[in-house]
């Protein structure tokens, strides 16, 4: 059978998009790799301090569960345009078997992942990404007594640090490499997020966590695991001015986020450069990519946080539903599902969405997205871009590296080998990879790709990952037979 819509990613954008489309009567599947919905931001629902918006998200997720085919622990490794015009979303099930899903339309809502920068010792156990440190919060009592240093850049460090401190860890400091102004004049304030900023400031103060700007973790030390870090005072370009050693057993570092766009790149979607240079999927006012039948919402269209993701997901759901109706592709069985939407009257989003959907109907494909949603998207987009301006990655970090510092941890490629590749005639990140192997291992350059691009002196290129997630040869081989679940599409 063919879904009207397959949504890839179960964070705020994917859930909002899937729910909106399902409420409009479409037959929807949502695929996500993890064990529960939520994405990077909402996954850790066991946090002592629930993230803002969590309650709203959980209501949406529950509503979605009744109206769509939600497939958790399914990894999407490829999306293909079929000759007939439809799309196939290739996933693998938890038992590693192949699950090809036929779809008339696809929404890419794959979020973003942490962007680390390499530094000496970052391969030691105990060095985590900021997002990885949040995952620690779920373990019972794992954190009590831990001495943690949080470093990097961007507002995401604040909830990470306050979450860790609230869960019983001793947070020895938050080292923000940008901004010489301190928490009292944090950019969140200028952006009208005074309440949120004050909340974090209060939480950090309560736990006596120092917040230091223009400082960074530039090295980690230890025999078998982290025992201490070197914290440096930085100039504006992140060159080291002075250092001191801080003893700790855990380091959480994050230098922003990398939008996860490889499925769009596979499909040939046009990309653009975001404010921080990251390649992101280009979309129109209705969240359509340049490839017919393919929409994108959330961080893959530009990092901007969960509020922007949610509104983009809703807009995508609405334009998908409108187009689906216009194309007359509404499957009869999806009308049966529609009868159940009454249960969702309690959803705060429900009434808005049906009104918006009708508005779209009248305006047709060329019409604008309903004003309220478009304006909300505009506002949060500006907020996201302002944060990217306020928290850039400065080039001085390259000076933190030594010849033997691993740039790629999967393939154990030290800086010296990257330099050797450049010396041998590699003029861009791709040829550095071909000659020295950074990015050829398990993570396919998700961790080191940004750093290698910087070392190559070019902006990060759209990632080519034809196999976006590992898939067993056995599962791949299953796809040689014509699969009964993927009939010719109309």
């Amino acid at each position: 059978m063919t879904y009207d819509l397959v949504v890839i990613g179960g964070g705020p954008a994917g859930v909002a998009g899937a729910l909106t489309a399902a409420q409009a009567g479409l037959r929807v599947a949502l695929v996500d790799a993890s064990v529960r919905l939520g994405g990077q931001y909402f996954r850790h629902s066991a946090d002592p301090r629930p993230a803002p918006g969590l309650g709203r998200f959980l209501r949406q997720a529950r509503a979605l569960d009744r109206r769509a085919d939600v497939r958790l622990r399914h990894q999407v490794w490829n999306v293909t345009r079929e000759p007939g015009g439809g799309l196939t979303v290739h996933a693998t099930a938890p038992d590693r078997t192949a699950v090809p899903l036929a779809a008339r339309r696809v929404l890419i809502a794959t979020g973003a992942y942490d962007r680390p920068l390499p530094f000496p010792g970052w391969d030691l156990p105990g060095v985590l990404t900021a997002g990885g440190a949040q995952a620690l919060l779920k373990g019972d009592g794992v954190l009590a007594g831990r001495r943690i240093v949080v470093g990097g850049t961007g507002p995401f460090l604040l909830p990470v640090a306050s979450g860790l401190a609230g869960a019983g860890a001793r947070v020895l400091g938050v080292f923000e490499a940008n901004g010489g102004l301190g928490l009292a004049r944090h950019p969140l304030l200028a952006l009208g997020k005074a309440g949120e900023a004050a909340g974090y400031a209060a939480a950090l103060a309560r736990h006596r966590v120092p917040y230091r700007t223009r400082q960074a973790v530039v090295a980690a030390h230890g025999e078998r695991e982290v025992e201490a870090v070197t914290v440096a005072r930085l100039d504006k370009e992140w060159n080291v001015l002075a250092t001191r050693v801080v003893e700790c057993d855990t380091v959480a570092v994050g230098y922003g986020f990398v939008p996860q766009i490889e499925l769009g790149v596979q499909l040939g979607c046009r990309t653009r450069q975001d404010v921080d240079g990251s390649p992101v999927l280009a979309v129109d006012a209705g969240q359509r990519t340049s490839v017919p039948g393919v929409w994108a919402a959330g961080e893959p269209t530009g990092v901007g946080g969960w509020r922007l993701s949610e509104v983009e997901g809703r807009i995508a759901g609405l334009t998908i539903a409108a187009e689906s109706r216009a194309a007359g592709s509404r499957a009869p069985e999806s009308r049966a599902l529609e009868g159940r939407t009454d249960e969702s009257r309690t959803d705060e989003s429900r009434t808005d969405e049906s009104r918006d959907a009708e508005g779209r109907d009248r305006e047709g494909r060329d019409g604008e997205v309903a004003g309220v949603l478009a304006r909300r998207r505009e506002r949060w987009r500006a907020f996201g871009e302002a944060l990217q301006h306020a928290y850039p990655v400065r080039p001085g970090w390259q000076g933190w590296l030594r010849d033997d510092t691993l740039v790629c941890r999967c393939e154990e490629v030290p800086l010296a080998r990257v330099r050797e590749a450049r010396d041998l005639g590699a003029t861009d990140a791709r040829s550095i990879k071909l000659l020295a192997r950074p990015g050829m291992g398990w993570c396919q350059g998700r961790i080191c790709g940004y750093a290698v691009s910087c070392l190559a002196g070019e902006p990060p290129q759209p990632p080519r990952r034809p196999i976006a997630q590992p898939v067993t040869l056995g599962a791949l081989a299953e796809l040689t037979d014509d699969d009964p679940t993927t009939p010719p599409l109309t």
């Binding site: 393939e411 590749a421 000659l435 034809p466 196999i467 898939v471 040869l473 791949l476």
Partner: protein, 405 residues
């Protein structure tokens, strides 16, 4: 002003530059991109004598095989600069000697037959090829490859088949050419796209590039799959067209599962086929990084890079049929490349009488890595007026009828 300008910094261009510099010529290599950024960067690094019918290409392959061994020996390096993955596997059988700094490995090739009839044909071909080989009965296949499926009818083992890491091979040949000899010089101009030729009357006296003119007495077109486009800039027709191939790459294995390059007999017929449609045959081998490379597909679809799941599925199915233990191994990457093929499946090597001063070294289809040193060596002989070791007439640039080009 150089003696020779080489267009293309892939493995063929690198070998041309290397042998020309060794012959005392001053060389400038021009490429629009990076070193090994085209088809070389998508290759498996095969150095095969096993897959070729007797004839001029096999002669070229046998000469090239010897030259690769010499290059690996002459330039030492034991690969100890470490391409080990996180799991640290470096203990690949047959490894340990000098690898030239480009992971040369004389691993040997095993061609396997699915039926007794195919086995008979394989043995016949091997007898005609006149290269070192051993016919392997079905019962002895597992002495070579313990993980092979048990329904095979036998095979032929070719000890001379070898492998290099092709990107490193190109880069190291350019480096060795620049450093080792002193008589000739070798300069690299990367990021310079050739936009035309400098002519003195009919004669080619240099190339125009996006970064200025480069002058030289001779120009070698080593632009691989794009060799036809470069030739057209000089006003000569050369029918080099892309033939797409996909390769699947597995996760690094802790223990090498596959010792040699192993492929099925269908590969030999596919290589020589003229079909435009999709053809696949199992070609499976381990690498020093611990990964397993799985090929090979051939289709003529222009320069379309879109990943084809049906092709990947067929490659996986064929590899699993050959090595059942691969079923649970995960593919983590795939990539595609465009083999430069000519209608008669032979490369173009030699002077172009239609444009004096222009030489070609392209159109090696899927065998460019293997055939590169012989190509460079023979062209250096031509450029220095030495009689070439092989008859170059089968490879001459003007051999194609006009209508096919």
């Amino acid at each position: 002003m150089s003696d020779v300008i080489v267009v293309g910094a892939g493995v063929v261009g690198a070998a041309c530059a290397y042998y020309a510099a060794r012959a005392g010529l001053d060389v400038t290599v021009v490429d629009r991109g990076s070193v090994a950024g085209g088809t070389t960067g998508s290759g498996e690094g095969n150095i095969l004598v096993s897959d070729k019918e007797p004839g001029p290409e096999l002669d070229l392959a046998v000469l090239s095989n010897r030259l690769w061994r010499e290059l690996a020996g002459a330039h030492g390096g034991t690969g100890a600069h470490g391409h080990a993955g996180a799991s640290g596997q470096r203990d690949v059988p047959g490894h340990g000697g000098a690898d030239g700094g480009f992971e040369f490995e004389a691993k040997g090739g095993l061609v396997v037959a699915e039926t007794p009839e195919i086995q008979r044909q394989l043995a016949e071909l091997a007898a005609k090829q006149d290269v070192e080989h051993a016919v392997v009965p079905a019962a002895e296949l597992r002495d070579y490859e313990p993980e092979l499926a048990d329904d095979l009818a036998g095979g032929v083992f070719y000890p001379q088949d070898a492998q290099v890491q092709p990107m490193l091979a190109a880069a190291r040949l350019l480096r060795h050419g620049a450093e080792s000899f002193g008589r000739g010089t070798l300069h690299l101009r990367l990021g310079a796209a050739v936009t035309g030729f400098v002519r003195d009357g009919d004669r080619v006296t240099g190339v125009r590039t996006s970064r200025g003119d480069v002058l030289g007495d001779a120009v070698i077109n080593a632009a691989g799959t794009w060799g036809g486009e470069v030739a057209a800039l000089a006003g000569v027709a050369l029918p080099v067209l892309p033939r797409r191939g996909f390769i699947l790459v597995t996760e690094p294995l802790r223990r090498p599962l596959i010792r040699h390059k192993v492929y099925t007999a269908a590969y030999v017929t596919n290589v020589a086929s003229d079909s435009a449609g999709l053809e696949t045959s199992a070609v499976v081998e381990g690498t020093q990084a611990g990964t397993v490379l799985i090929g090979a597909s051939r289709e003529r679809v222009g320069f379309d890079r879109t990943t084809s799941v049906p092709v990947l599925a067929r490659l996986a199915a064929q590899a699993v049929a050959l090595f059942p233990a691969l079923r649970d191994v995960r593919a983590i990457r795939s990539y595609c490349g465009f083999r430069p093929y000519c209608p008669d499946h032979l490369p173009v090597i030699g002077a172009d009488p239609r444009a004096p001063g222009l030489y070609h070294a392209c159109g090696h289809e899927g065998a460019g890595i293997g055939l590169a040193p012989a190509t460079g060596h023979l062209l250096a002989q031509v450029l220095t007026g030495t009689p070439p070791d092989l008859d170059l007439r089968p490879f001459r640039p003007d051999r194609f009828p006009e209508e096919s080009s």
